[in-house]
Amino acid sequence: MLDVSLDILVPEYIKKFEPYIPSKPDAELMKLYGCDHLYRLNNNENPLGPPAAAQEILSRFKPPKAAIYPSGDSYYLRYKLALKHDLDPDQFLVGNGANEVITFVIKAFCQEGDNIITADKTFAVYEWVAEFSGFEARLVPLKDFCFDDQGMLDRIDDRTKILFICNPNNPTGTYWDEATLRRFLKTVAGRQIVVVDEAYFEFVEREDYPDGIKLLREYPNLVVFRTFSKMYGLAGLRVGYLVGNLDVVNMIRRTCVVYSVNTLAQEAAVVALDDDDHLQRTRRLIRSEKVYLQQQMDRLNLETQIGEGCFMMVKLPMSDTLAYRKLMTHGVMVRSMTGFRYPNWIRVSIGTHEAMEAFMTALKKILL
């Protein structure tokens, strides 16, 4: 048998990179952990599912359409987004989830020797994509659970191309107010691309929380990410997008893989944008269940970090990865946080009240 010369073929930065292995399907996990149900509270999905109109699209999908390629650049979805935000459709690029548009941006601006800057305890995909593409990811420690604006500015050098800010931050839920974001953008002064990832934008009801898209006209180096995986309940279809200054987006378009967003995802996303009622119902649920969880955690004397978004963090008096396994035996799946560099913390997605009660019951049992 022939040997593959992997030692020579594979770049050093790939050899060093550790692949991410996602969890097994529910049925396999239930078999392994011996439980007859599973509350998935690990991925910040919308417990109410997709909006009604999107569900209608899914149920009416005609199978023969599966043989036809989708719109290569999500034409109707971009026009719908442009109408909603009063922008040019060409300012939008749609990807197979927001993860894909992260790759577009890094490919468009970084070359050998360049670096990106983000936080040490945030959504890990900015760091991953940079590293497995051969670029340095400079990680600035959070300050009081929040992105450290000055710390990030201090790490910029002449090879820094992109600054990634997760606003609100996953997993801490903290956010930069409009004044902070403006101050930051003013200091960067167009020398780097500033990406503001607003995956949880629709969950935030604070008045001082900035709408990045509204700032695009003033700051042409700003690129905003949004997703349909969270509030719009379409995580299984994988659709997200970026929006920015036309010239900037035209550059990013050169690295964009077309046809990566399927027909169902595009059609469901178009109608999901109109369902304000779904958005309000989701917000109400998240609000009330966060209050419930906070009260429960206070009773257990457990430290929490609750900010914006559909999740919260809890510090446990035990290893988070052990808690993960023990909770799994009770049919509850949370996110352990050692990998986020928050040892002994777990992140819990806010779910239905039934799911939250199941989580609390299981948590009390494992803490006994």
Binding site: Y33, G34, D120, P317, T338, G339
Partner: protein
């Protein structure tokens, strides 16, 4: 290609005519890598013993590659060869050069080589070939009079990778404040610890007060590809309610959290180890050459969410494994296996890893064989004569044939002590020889 300033290699024939070439390569590379004359000579003697041994076990037209590496604080020689060219039995520690010749225990080539070096191990598989590794450490001046500064309780810390001077001071503080069994024997040689950290095999973090005082520290090292071993945390005159121990462990976790490490283990835990961060896997008995025994608890922390896996078990240990997996909440599908009269290869092969500093040896199975039980009995006999009272045997539960060795282990006085999750391809089950216990 490996850096030639730290890696050299020699490819030669397994022919005694090349012995001078091989020993010269060993000696000169060891000296070039910084070993003193005495250490270089010992490594050369071990190399000579191994080469002669291999020449007798193989054929003179076969090739062997010898790699010399500079590990910073040690020099290493690695012998690489394909096993199909050899009689596999020869790689048992207990095998004599001639299988028919009843050579005395003292004259077994592999054992002789093991005595001249600090670490010696055989590893590999029938598919990938075998590696025989010799490691000789450099000689360093031992810690003299302990001059350590007085440390007072410190309020505000920052956590740093120590520079060489702070590292040496940290080591002195550890030796001054902790009993010897709670730190690495190398801590008696501060310069060696500096080289160990510089080599990248070990890492350290210290907690520095505002005036640069060292309030504590922690050391860790990689054990294989998936496990990191922790030493400490060590605290110097800090209040009992200090969060420093937690923060030192956090600092280590932050550094290894996004690496390929799956687990963090602690086998020499200080009283300050925050137990709530860890899971108690069990304990082993640490036996001194004089016969006194002390339990060594083993703590573990998983770094990733457990994906679950399948393991093999012999029915004799199904209850033990089931109980341990339930206690530790590890999702495992246990599949039972046993020999049912099928044909087995005639001879087993066990690889040995010496740790003479701890009077310890760990055996692992490379080949299954009909003679497993008698081969194991022979190993125990030899190792007891060799004054190694701590005899462990590790089996990888990913391999059904290794689980099939369980009856042979039990029959020879080995008892299961603990499971190291993901310590191998799947979990490792650690047995300890307990004789008639």
């Amino acid at each position: 290609m490996k850096d030639p300033s730290t890696h050299l290699s020699l490819k030669t024939l397994l022919n005694p005519n090349f012995l001078r070439l091989v020993t010269s390569f060993a000696e000169e590379s060891a000296k070039a890598f910084g070993l003193g004359a005495a250490e270089a000579l010992k490594l050369t003697l071990a190399c000579e013993e191994i080469f002669i041994y291999l020449c007798q076990a193989g054929r003179p037209d076969e090739t062997i590659t010898i790699e010399a590496a500079n590990g910073g604080y040690y020099a290493q020689l690695k012998f690489l060869f394909k096993t199909h060219e050899f009689n596999p039995r020869a790689f048992n520690l207990t095998a004599s050069v001639s299988l028919e010749d009843q050579t005395s225990l003292e004259e077994m080539g592999l054992l002789i080589a093991s005595r001249s070096v600090d670490r010696f191990y055989i590893t590999g598989s029938p598919q990938q070939g075998l590696e025989l590794v010799l490691v000789k450490e450099k000689s360093y001046p031992e810690l003299g009079e302990l001059e350590v500064p007085e440390i007072k309780a410190i309020k505000n810390f920052s956590f740093r990778t120590p520079d060489p001077e702070n590292l040496k001071l940290f080591v002195r503080l550890v030796v001054a404040h902790y009993p010897a069994h709670l730190y690495l024997p190398s801590f008696r040689f501060p310069g060696k610890v500096v080289d160990m950290i510089a080599s990248g095999e070990y890492s350290a973090a210290v907690a520095l007060g505002e005036q640069g005082q060292i309030g504590g520290g922690i050391v860790w090292r990689w054990v294989g590809n998936k496990t990191v071993e922790l030493f400490g945390p060590y605290l110097f005159h800090q209040p009992a309610d200090s969060q420093l121990a937690n923060e030192l462990v956090d600092s280590c976790l932050g550094r290894i959290a996004k690496t390929e490490a799956i687990g963090l283990i602690s086998r020499t835990s200080t009283p300050e180890l925050p137990e709530r961060y860890f899971e108690h896997l069990g304990s082993v008995d640490f036996i001194q050459p004089g016969g006194t025994s002390q339990p060594w608890p083993v703590y573990y922390r998983q770094l990733y969410e457990d994906l679950g896996c399948q393991v093999w078990a012999h029915p004799d240990l199904h209850g033990f494994l089931r109980g341990e997996y339930e206690r530790l909440a590890f999702a495992r599908e246990i599949r039972l296996t046993r020999h049912e009269g099928e044909r087995r290869p005639p001879y087993s092969v066990f690889a040995a890893q010496f740790d003479r500093a701890h009077h310890q040896i760990t055996l692992r199975a490379i080949w299954d064989g009909e003679d497993a039980a008698t081969n194991l009995a022979q190993h125990v006999k030899v190792l007891r004569v060799e004054n190694l009272p701590n005899i462990f045997f590790e089996i990888d539960l990913a391999q059904a044939w290794q689980a099939d060795l369980i009856p042979a282990l039990l029959e020879n006085g080995f008892r299961p002590r603990l499971i190291l999750p993901y310590g191998g391809q799947a979990d490792i089950l650690v047995f300890q020889y307990q004789g008639g216990k």
